[in-house]
Amino acid sequence: MLAYIVRRLGVLGVILFGSSFILYNMAAIAGDPIGELRLSNDPAAKQAIIDLTLRLQLDVPPPLRYFIWLKGVLGIFVGKADFGLTRDNMSVFNEISQAIPITIRLVTTATIVAIVLGIALGITSALRQYTRFDYSMTFFAFLLYSLPIFWVAVLLKQFLAIRFNDFLSHSTVHRNSVLLLSLLSAIFWGSIFSRVRKTFWITFVSAALGTASLLLFMNQLEWYTNPRLGPITVFIFSVGIAFGVTHLSVGLSNRTALYSSLTMAVLALVIYFPIQSLFTAQSTFWQMILLLIVTIAVATGVSFMFSRIDRGPLIRTTILTAFLSASLIIVDKYMRTWQFYLKEDAINYRPVPTIGQVSDLLPQDDYWIRTLDILVHLFLPTIALTLISFAGYTRFSRGTLLEVLNQDYIRTARAKGLTERTVIMRHAFRNTLIPLPTIIVVDFAGIIGGAIITERVFGWYGMGTLFNRAITGQDLNLLMGVFFLTATLSVLANLIADLLYSALDPRIRVGAGK
């Protein structure tokens, strides 16, 4: 195993060396960083040419200059990497280390949302194979495959940001929109739960009525400018989560698990008021992490007290319920922050931005307002990135699940008399997840390069913007820095994907057969 990894790393090193050498020379020959200055008659231009030549060592021919660059990069291994200087005499290393967190922030949320939604919809559509729902999901996925992201981005800016901001100024959903939304949700839920015609109509009608009354109720409460959940709603949702999670993971017949999860829901209600005093303007990110750890610890403790046998699944169920209920409380806190956020001068009741990564004018003293601002800025780019990447996950998980459902062990499980839930969740779903990490890892590495367009459309200053600047400004060192990072990430991601795959699927052995 170790030998395999070392050998793969060696090959990767050679590949990276080759591709960076070629790219360096190609970019160096193609672009002349002092070309524009040469044409200028300005006496200062001459000095600038001399300066640039000295600083970027332009007098050295590109193939040799590559090795100077490489020597600096290889400094990583001795702890002092030198990626060279940009044209503006900045360190490329610093520029990149500033840009990376921004790109990662942009990409992580979108990837997570895409994975969760994609898998959920893919699996639903596989379980409803050849129904109308399945067909429309397929069509939808293909449609998303075919969308140019910049085009979607402009539409999102117009319809989600500007229209939503306009909407907030009167903040009631119009009667026609209520009708339309209710109809859409009715069709969606109806088609998911349509086994027989009767259930279809029952779901259809109740979904329509539910959505309509919810929207009207929210209109009445002026919920859009002053959203909140409140302890009762949090409790009701938590109970729902407890039932749902238990049903999916171990089944409602497992009373112990159900009671343990319900305890978490009750706990959510109990701590709802005390915990508000912990959420102050001075809260920090680490406090949130700490709260998360406490939540998980409490959940583990409670489930330990409940369970005697078969602890694992029960603990998992309880922790998941606890985590989701805790997130509800956090969501509620953010909802309560919303109206104060709207009142800020920098926001002035137009909260959804079309551009940028934070509002520069916003006061930075309140943790909740500051983070809400970040979230709001993430909103549009995340939707855009999610839309284009989640179709892949849908198709993939649908295909895999269908394949898995045809396997012999599924037939065996059914023949044993296991419930359909156990067959799907334990036997089929888990095996569906096996190949997913490979595409997730590769996708995540690829999307860092692929966020170039998204960053450009939404005016984020991440890796994509650096890359753009490098090309249009003929900035070789900057370009190579960005390239080196994305290329390294992508080859490493491939390696990790292979290793993960063999770790998850014992049938596959890496390095075998050679």
Binding site: I15, I149, W151, Q158, I452
Partner: protein
């Protein structure tokens, strides 16, 4: 006895299912089977007719010069014409709005008509319909050339490394890895920024040089499995040369994989071209492409949305159709994939089952 009955039942069920599948393909050649299966995929057939229609429509609309021939398009304007900008009758005081009208007169509209400039005009008054047609021609051309180049390179590399294995395979696959490390959008931007003025064919050619990697891996995998099959051994024993085995025995069996992944490469290619043009590193002005049109007019979306809608929708229709055709081809070429049994067939097999069960 009971055992025998059960076996009987099983064979009946199986022959019931298989008979339907087999009856369909009785006496048909491979190509006919594929065609038959493809025609059953409704979305793919619709897409195929849509894309044929678009191709004819788009390429016949404008004047073209091919060598000594001069083709006159049916549309009255070209991309270089500068008709007068329309003032006045546009909403919100904009200029050059589209004259197309789809609302008939009895519904209070202006009647179904195209008007002078159905898609409107751009800033300086050029007819936007002509621009969009020209852009679509460019984008489709790029798509097809990328498909051909990437398909050719990918097939050759994959076939050679899958068939010969050993050190040839090792070298070619390392070379593929090496191309994969360079993100297409980065290399495309680097070349496009410096040589963008060399024209559209050059752009398509070099993009094709970097998009064949996925295809070659698939083809290699297919060749690796096919070369171990009995019919290849049989051919070899009969004294067939490598060349004959590759072209007569393996390639026809791998052609499904190749065609399907070429289609999918093409649908990716049109998006790649538009993305590069959007960044300014693909097709550059004064040439037109759909991506370039969108990037030029994205800021005018609030005031003159038509400049943004038409090219975008055309991109989506083209990419969507190509994707669906690819899906249809995959279903058609992959005999392992079970199709949906129609309701009638399902009922038939259940009645068969029930009858058998009852008689037992």
């Amino acid at each position: 006895m009971k055992f025998g009955r059960k076996k009987d039942l099983e064979t009946t069920i199986e022959s019931g299912e298989n008979a339907i599948a087999n009856k369909e393909v009785e006496g048909l050649s491979q190509g006919q089977i594929v065609l038959k299966r493809f025609l059953r995929h409704r979305a793919a057939v619709i897409s195929l007719s849509a894309i044929t229609g678009i191709l004819l429509f788009v390429f016949s609309s404008l004047d073209m010069k091919i060598g000594p021939f001069h083709y006159r398009g049916w549309w009255k304007f070209g991309v270089d014409d500068l008709p007068e900008l329309r003032y006045g009758d546009c909403p919100n005081g904009t200029v050059g709005c589209p004259t197309i009208s789809l609302r008939p007169k009895f519904l209070g509209g202006a009647g179904i008509q195209l008007g002078q400039h159905p898609f409107g005009q751009d800033d300086i008054g050029r007819d936007y319909f002509a621009l969009v047609m020209q852009g679509a021609q460019r984008s489709i051309l790029v798509m097809v050339v990328i498909g051909i180049v990437a398909g050719f390179i990918g097939t050759v590399v994959g076939a050679v490394s899958g068939f010969y294995r050993g050190w040839i395979d090792a070298i070619l696959m390392r070379f593929t890895d090496f191309i994969i490390t360079i993100p297409v959008i980065i290399i495309g931007s680097v070349i496009g920024f410096h040589f963008g003025n060399l024209g559209i064919l050059f752009l398509a050619l070099y993009l094709g040089l970097f998009t064949w990697t996925g295809l070659s891996r698939l083809v290699r995998g297919e060749f690796l499995t096919l070369r171990e099959r009995e019919f290849v051994d049989a051919a070899r024993v009969a004294g067939a040369s490598n060349r004959r085995i590759i072209f007569k025995h393996i390639l026809p069996n791998a052609v499904g994989v190749i065609i399907v992944s070429i289609t999918l490469t093409m649908s990716g290619a049109i998006l790649l071209e538009t993305a590069l043009s959007y960044l300014g590193f693909g097709v550059v002005a004064p040439d037109v492409s759909l991506g370039l049109l969108i990037s030029q007019y994205q800021d005018s979306f609030t005031t003159r949305p038509w400049l943004f809608w038409y090219p975008g929708i055309l991109i989506i229709i083209i990419a969507l159709s190509v994707n669906f055709i690819g899906d249809g081809l995959r279903d058609a070429f992959d005999p392992r994939q079970r199709r949906q049994m129609t309701k009638k067939v399902r009922q038939q097999s259940t009645t068969l089952l029930n009858r058998e069960a009852k008689s037992e």
